[in-house]
Structure formats: structure tokens, C-alpha cells
């Protein structure tokens, strides 16, 4: 039985398609059975839902003050009207925590998107062209990775001045080399894979192979990294807020800032430190668990 050239091409490509579909299906099956994945996904879902539906969920406006309720160092604690109590300006803590999820989500998603798109574009160039393009991109990545990530973010955010945008850019830029390296590495290994070699030998153009097959098949580690990067972005944003980088508007309910502010009230109102701290831990944990579970599920080595 002999196949024509075109048919042979199709068959090989379909096989790569199937291999990918198989991997995804397989990964899904394993994710559903992993408690780590289920806990992680639940926390992430909870976090995203809270962020999206904040206006519906929050009982009060996050910036509405009631100064008559507070005295220096004394803020009403949890009550039926205010489940998590009031903060130092008589604002509803629960509403602030709920709205805070929005800022964390936006900072996380935007910064990781910046890092991933720019990083992937560079990685794609490096992986597809090789040669001096590859060398240039990878050396630049090496240099950026030579600066510890939070330090680099601090430097960039300090440079751009106090605003949420500069925090997002800072964390995004820090992520660029990670994604660039990752995609390039994955593409190099995919390029040597059987179906890619087979396609090439059957005369499929290089560009088509890269775009339609090598690139999509290299995305798995990127997705894993993006999930993990979201976790890091949230802690890094908190760290930057602690250092006074972030929005110049102090009334913004940003978790890191709220946590840093409570240092002054730690002794008298320790609960006020607990809530934003807990919110950060839960959301970071969610992304981290989900990311790790994805990594395990998508790792071909574990598909025995």
C-alpha cells in the first residue's frame, strides 16, 4: 500500500494533532483525579468569581468611610453588619477584601500577559530562526535573569514612579525572559520530534510546521508557567506595595498595601492584618497548586 505525498503529509500532521489531543485528554483525566488540582482549581475559581462579581458580593462601597465609628487605635471588630469589622477610617473590611481581589487579579493577569506575550514572541523568534537571533535573545534573557526577580521589579517600579501600571509593567518585564526561554526550549525539543522531522521530510514548509505544529505543541509548559507566574505576581505586588510602590491613591483596597498598613495597628487590631494576609495566601496557593498539578498532568515523562 502506498500513499501519495500529500496524503502522507496529512496523515503525519493528523497524527501530531491526535497526539496533542491525546495529551490534553490524558491530562484532563489525570487532573480530575488529582486532589491538588481540585483544591487549586477551586481556590482559583473562588478568587476569580469574587473579583468579577465584587460589586454584587460586597455589602458596602470599599471607600465609604464612617469616621464616627472609629477612635484612635479602636475600630469596631466583626459584627452582624460588618462581618470582618471596620478599618482605621471606618470602612467595611469585608468589602475592601472583596474589591481587593479585583486589583490582585488585574495586576496578576495583566503582568503575566505582558510577560507571556512579549516573552513568547521573543522565544518564538529565537526558536524559529535560531542563529544570531537566538543568541541575542538568549543572552538578553540571561542578563535579565542575572538580576534577582523582585529586585528587578523594584528597580523598574521605582523608575516608573508610583502607579498600578508601573507595578504591572515591572512584574511583567520580570517574567519576559522566563517565558522566552521556556518557549524556545520547548520548540527546540519539538522540532526534533518524530512528526516534525517527518513533516519536513515530506516537504511541508518550515514556517507551516513551526506555526501549526511545533508552536502549539510547545504551549503546555507555557500554560504551566503562566499559572505559576500568577501566584508569584500576587506576592510580588504585595512586596512592592510594602515598599511603597503602587498606586499613590491610598484609598485603593489593594491587599499588599492593606497588609503593610496594618503594621501600625498590629498590637491593637491584629485581625485587620489577618484578612488581607489570608486573602493573599489563599489566592497564591490556588494558582500554585493548580500550576503544579498542571505541570504533573502535562509532563510526558509521567505518562507511563
Amino acid at each position: 500500500m502506498s500513499l501519495s505525498g500529500a496524503e502522507a503529509q496529512e496523515t503525519v500532521l493528523t497524527q501530531s494533532e491526535e497526539a496533542r489531543g491525546g495529551l490534553v485528554r490524558d491530562a484532563f483525566r489525570r487532573l480530575r483525579r488529582s486532589p491538588q488540582a481540585i483544591v487549586g482549581a477551586t481556590l482559583v475559581l473562588l478568587f476569580v468569581l469574587v473579583a468579577v462579581f465584587a460589586p454584587l458580593l460586597a455589602p458596602y462601597s470599599p471607600t465609604a468611610q464612617d469616621l464616627s465609628q472609629v477612635r484612635p487605635g479602636q475600630f469596631p471588630g466583626p459584627s452582624a453588619e460588618h462581618l470582618l469589622g471596620l478599618d482605621q477610617l471606618g470602612r467595611d473590611e469585608l468589602s475592601r477584601i472583596i474589591y481587593g481581589a479585583r486589583y490582585s487579579l488585574i495586576i496578576g493577569v495583566v503582568s503575566v500577559t505582558i510577560g507571556a506575550t512579549v516573552g513568547m514572541a521573543l522565544g518564538l523568534l529565537a526558536g524559529a530562526f535560531g542563529g544570531w537571533v537566538d543568541g541575542l535573545v538568549m543572552r538578553a534573557a540571561d542578563i535579565m535573569l542575572a538580576v534577582p526577580s523582585l529586585l528587578l521589579a523594584i528597580g523598574i517600579a521605582a523608575l516608573l514612579g508610583r502607579s498600578i501600571t508601573s507595578v504591572m509593567i515591572a512584574i511583567g518585564v520580570v517574567n519576559i525572559p522566563v517565558f522566552a526561554r521556556l518557549l524556545r526550549g520547548a520548540m527546540l525539543s519539538q522540532r526534533e520530534s518524530d512528526y516534525a522531522l517527518a513533516s519536513r521530510s515530506l516537504g511541508v514548509t518550515k514556517g507551516r510546521v513551526v506555526l501549526k505544529h511545533v508552536f502549539p505543541n510547545s504551549l503546555a509548559p507555557v500554560i504551566v508557567q503562566a499559572t505559576l507566574a500568577l501566584a508569584t505576581a500576587i506576592t510580588e505586588a504585595a512586596g512592592l506595595a510594602f515598599l511603597g510602590l503602587g498606586s499613590p491613591d491610598p484609598s485603593i483596597p489593594e491587599w499588599g498595601r492593606m497588609l503593610a498598613e496594618t503594621n501600625a495597628y498590629l498590637a491593637s487590631e491584629p485581625l485587620l492584618a489577618l484578612w488581607p494576609g489570608l486573602a493573599i495566601v489563599i489566592s497564591v496557593l490556588g494558582f500554585y497548586l493548580l500550576g503544579e498539578a498542571l505541570r504533573e498532568a502535562l509532563d510526558p515523562k509521567l505518562r507511563r
Binding site: 471607600t63 484612635p72 487605635g73 479602636q74 482605621q88 511603597g244 503594621n263 501600625a264 498590637a267 491593637s268
Partner: protein, 558 residues
């Protein structure tokens, strides 16, 4: 296995040693565990938590509170204030009198006083110091370097800035060892109270020369003190001598054996810089320090409950929202009035300031003469504010509102909280507020002083008991931070300064206060009494409204 266990025991022992020495310091009531090697004061040592390092130990060059606090212990001034008040009493001078014209002041000096380095204190030494200040040149004439000299004496022997006014100081004569005559170019009501400022501390002429006190280079904004004086050396006549100064770590002072007055009860005083307010409280609770200044009102109750003593300084300050009246839309009087009516000052003072704080109606505290009871008041009224905005003709007024970061002042314990409260108030009245922040020093103060800031949070603590030190300092001359101040107000304040009759001065200052609140170059909102805290066994500390406070009278009760 046996081996392992022994290591375990050693490790436990080490842990015990580490924790054990600390545990002694855990309760702050008992402070005499000198043997423990932990860092608690007690017995012969008191550790005080300062908010920053002194800038220099040469008081002629400083104007910040921490430098002045240190100077108070090492140096003395010709006259000083009564403990806990603003009345002038004898210091290094035991008697003084002015001639008829108020321009020749004769000071009779204390006998038998020596500087820490053994140099005799006499009239020559006094004149040496005054002539030194008067002959400052170059960078030394920068307002940030010799602030207080310029506040009280205006100019120098050779003014390098032609705009600088003529010096109030003319000359000093040492008629005999204990008599110094200081001649002025005109009468001044603030000369004598001004002399109580630590900036006019009498330092040892020998030490000043030997250690290069006048070696200042750099620029006005960034002066560099190249001599050892002020950093490694500081020689006065005060109850304490400088033992060591390590910026960032501590300033150590020990009792001066040959002090002319009562010997200090505590042998060693250590000022330890702890910039962060909560960290000062924690250091006190952990027993690492026995007292600190500028307690956060949020901590009053808890500290008192835990047995600490809170000492309050009489309210001698004002917190205000400054307005740059040259910056649109703030140049519009109705907009300024709308702002004044929009701010709920009562609510803020109640929520953020300790009991006993007062809502301010004008730029100086009621204790001071010249305070007028009938100034225009702007009560909290959102509707009125909205109506005023409508009348002003400014559609959708937008204001840049500035607040400082990383700072806590007596009149503004928590700038961010004040800012957020006022921001919400302004927005409720229909203003659009653009938040702007900058680190206190130098960026924020620069932004305010150069007139870059439109609306801003600021305040003032009085240096001596005279209205000229409040509204005179603010409005007597043109300052970019306020925009334009009408000439009549400036003239009234200048007249107040040179007038020598007390009743006439009072009337002038009352008028000025009325005119200022009509003009509304800012909204004063609080006079508050800041507090210090000390461990239970510390006695004898007397807070002063102008912070002239002496550690030599402090002792431990057990």
C-alpha cells in the same frame, strides 16, 4: 547514638542561652539585669527611641527635632525656658537687661562653668560663638544650614544673597569675664525668646576651631560637613558629654563630672534611631528602649493599660491643609471657601487624634497671645460647599492633593489617614481629587516649598512662645507654598515683629489672624498635644511645649 544525643543537649543549651538572656528583657518593668548581656537599659543607663539620627551635633547647623534634642543634653544656651512652659528663665546667663532703645543687651554670665574639654566658659566664649554665626559664609548661609540664625537674626556680616535682609545682630563685647553685651541693629520682640533655641548653644571655641566646625562644602541643598566637629566631636557645657555617635545605630552620652549644676542621676543616655513608629512601640514593649517620642494616638490606650507612662506636651502646634492660592482653581476665593466648608474637620480630629485635641480655627494655638476669637469660621456643610462651587463658575473643579509618605509629625500622626478622610470629603462636595504623594524629605517639602503642590497637608510646631514664630513665619514674607499673600497682611506681621508694646502687638496679631482667615491661604484643622511614653520606673521627665527637655533631671524610681 549517644554521640547524637549529646549534640542535641548542647544545641538545646545554646538555644536556652539565646532565649534565656532575652527572656530577662521580656518584661520591661524590671530593667536592672545588667549581667544578662541583652540590650536593656536600667540602673545607670537609659535608652531612648529617637525617630531619626541627629543631622549634626553642631546645633548652629540644624533645625530638626532630633538634632535639637541631642544638643539640649550636650550644650546650654544663655537663657532657657521654665520647665514645661515658654517663659524665659536663666541659663548660662543669670541676668540680662536691655537698654532704653532695646538694642543693647547686657548678659551677666554664670561663674565657674567649664566646657567638657576644660576650656573656661566666659564672655569671650559667648562673643566667639555669636561672631562665628554672624560671619557664616558660602554654604553656611544657606537657609537649610543656618535656619534658626536667619529666623531670629535675618542676615549675616556679608550677605551673599542680595535679597537677604540686614542682620539684626551688630556686635558682641566682652566687657569682663562674666559680662557680655550684645548689640542689635534694631529692637526685636523675638530676640530674647529666640536665644532659648538650641541653635544658639554656646560651644567650646577651642573645640570649634580645632575640629573644623566651619569646614562646610557642597551646596545649599546638599551641604557637606567636612570637619570632625558635629560628628565625632561636640563640646558644650551641658550635663552630658558625647561618648560616641554612630549614625544609624546610636548616640551615646555620659554624665559630665564637672557639671556646674546638679549632677545627672543617670550615668549614660543612649538615643537609638528607630524610624518606624510601630517599631518604636515594639522596642519599648520588648524592653529594648525605656521611652520614645511622638507616640501614635492609636497606641495610647494600650500602652497606658500595660503600665507605661504617657506624658503629654502642651498643644503648641497647628495642622493645616495648605493652599497654593496662585494655582487655578485655588486662586478662586469661592473654591477655597468651598474646600473649607467641605472638610469635616471635627470628624477627622475625633477619629484620628487623641482626646484633648482641638479643632483649629486659625493658624496658631489659642494659648498664644494674638489668637482672635472672632475669625471667620467655615463650618462643615457639604451643601454650602456645592453651592460655592456652583457660584465660583468653575465647572468640575479638579485638585491635585498632596500628602507625604514615610513620616509622622506631632500635628499629623498618620498623614495617609488624614489624606483619605479629606479626599472623601472633597469628593463628596463635587471636587475631583488627584492624589499625589512624595517622600517627606526632601521631595515632599520641595514640592510644597517651590509651589508645585496645589493642596497639601502640612503643619507647624512652635519653637518659642511668640506669634511671629507661627503666622509671622508663614505669611510675613512671600513664599511660593502659599501663592500670593496680600501686602496688608505682610505689613501687619512686620509691624508686629518690631513693635515692643505687648498690648499693641496683641491687637496687631489678632487683626492679622482675622485677615488671614478671610483670605484663606489654607484650612487649619487641629491643635493637638503630642505625647511621649516612658517605662513605669522612669521619673522626672518634664515635657515642654517647645521641646526644651532635659534628661539630666530624669532618674529611675527603683
Amino acid at each position: 547514638m549517644r554521640n547524637l544525643r549529646r549534640q542535641g543537649v548542647v544545641a538545646l543549651g545554646l538555644a536556652g542561652l539565646l532565649v534565656g538572656t532575652a527572656a530577662c528583657g521580656g518584661d520591661s518593668g524590671t530593667n536592672d539585669d545588667g549581667a544578662s548581656g541583652s540590650d536593656e537599659g536600667g540602673g545607670d543607663t537609659l535608652v531612648f527611641g529617637a525617630s531619626a539620627d541627629p543631622v549634626s551635633l553642631d546645633p548652629a547647623y540644624v533645625s530638626d527635632g532630633e538634632s535639637l534634642r541631642a544638643a539640649r543634653q550636650i550644650y546650654e544656651t544663655l537663657v532657657t525656658t521654665e520647665a514645661g512652659g515658654t517663659d524665659i528663665v536663666e541659663g548660662l546667663a543669670t541676668k540680662w537687661e536691655a537698654d532704653e532703645a532695646g538694642t543693647a543687651w547686657t548678659f551677666t554670665l554664670r561663674d565657674g562653668v567649664t566646657f567638657h574639654d576644660g576650656t573656661e566658659f566666659d564672655a569671650e566664649a559667648v562673643c566667639f560663638n555669636f561672631d562665628r554665626w554672624y560671619n557664616f559664609e558660602g554654604v553656611q548661609q544657606s537657609p537649610s544650614v543656618s535656619y534658626y540664625w536667619q529666623t531670629v537674626f535675618t542676615g549675616f556680616a556679608n550677605n551673599e544673597d542680595p535679597e537677604q535682609g540686614e542682620s539684626l545682630y551688630a556686635s558682641c563685647e566682652a566687657t569682663d569675664a562674666t559680662t557680655a553685651v550684645i548689640n542689635l541693629t534694631g529692637p526685636s520682640a523675638s530676640f530674647l525668646p529666640g536665644l532659648a533655641l538650641a541653635a544658639f548653644s554656646i560651644a567650646s571655641p577651642t573645640a570649634l576651631e580645632e575640629f573644623g566646625a566651619d569646614e562646610v562644602t557642597g551646596t545649599g541643598e546638599e551641604p557637606r560637613f567636612d570637619g570632625a566637629y558635629g560628628l565625632e566631636e561636640a563640646v558644650g557645657t551641658g550635663p552630658y558629654t558625647l561618648e560616641s555617635f554612630e549614625p544609624g545605630n546610636r548616640l551615646v552620652m555620659t554624665a559630665y563630672e564637672d557639671y556646674w549644676g546638679d549632677a545627672p542621676a543617670i550615668e549614660t543616655i543612649i538615643f537609638r534611631p528607630i524610624a518606624d513608629g510601630p517599631a518604636r512601640r515594639q522596642a519599648l514593649e520588648a524592653g529594648e528602649i525605656q521611652g520614645y517620642d511622638l507616640v501614635d494616638p492609636a497606641d495610647y490606650e494600650a500602652l497606658e493599660g500595660a503600665g507605661y507612662q504617657l506624658l503629654s506636651r502642651p498643644a503648641f502646634n497647628v495642622g493645616y491643609v495648605g493652599i497654593n492660592t496662585a494655582k487655578p482653581p485655588l486662586d478662586n476665593p469661592q473654591i477655597r471657601q468651598a474646600i473649607a466648608h467641605a472638610l469635616n474637620r471635627e470628624a477627622l480630629v475625633q477619629a484620628q487624634y487623641p482626646e484633648g485635641s482641638e479643632v483649629a480655627t486659625q493658624f496658631m494655638p489659642p494659648e498664644l497671645f494674638g489668637h482672635a476669637d472672632d475669625v471667620t469660621e467655615y463650618e462643615y456643610d457639604v451643601e454650602k460647599a456645592k453651592a460655592l462651587i456652583a457660584e465660583s463658575g468653575v465647572a468640575n473643579p479638579t485638585i491635585e492633593f498632596w500628602y507625604p509618605t514615610g513620616v509622622s509629625r506631632p500635628y499629623m500622626p498618620n498623614p495617609e489617614a488624614n489624606f483619605q478622610a479629606f479626599q472623601a470629603d472633597l469628593e463628596a462636595a463635587g471636587f475631583t481629587v488627584t492624589p499625589q504623594s512624595a517622600p517627606w524629605n526632601p521631595d515632599y517639602l520641595d514640592a510644597v516649598n517651590t509651589g508645585a503642590a496645589g493642596l497639601y497637608l502640612l503643619g507647624w510646631t512652635g519653637d518659642f512662645g511668640d506669634p511671629d514664630n507661627f503666622i509671622g513665619t508663614f505669611f510675613r514674607t512671600d513664599q511660593p507654598s502659599w501663592g500670593t499673600i496680600p501686602q496688608e497682611i505682610q505689613d501687619q506681621l512686620e509691624a508686629g515683629r518690631t513693635e515692643t508694646d505687648e498690648a499693641a502687638r496683641t491687637a496687631l496679631y489678632e487683626d492679622a489672624n482675622r485677615a488671614i482667615m478671610e483670605q484663606l491661604p489654607g484650612v487649619p484643622y487641629v491643635h493637638t498635644s503630642p505625647r511621649l511614653v516612658f517605662a513605669e520606673n522612669v521619673v522626672g521627665y518634664e515635657p515642654s511645649p517647645v521641646s526644651i527637655e532635659d534628661f539630666a533631671r530624669v532618674s529611675f524610681s527603683d
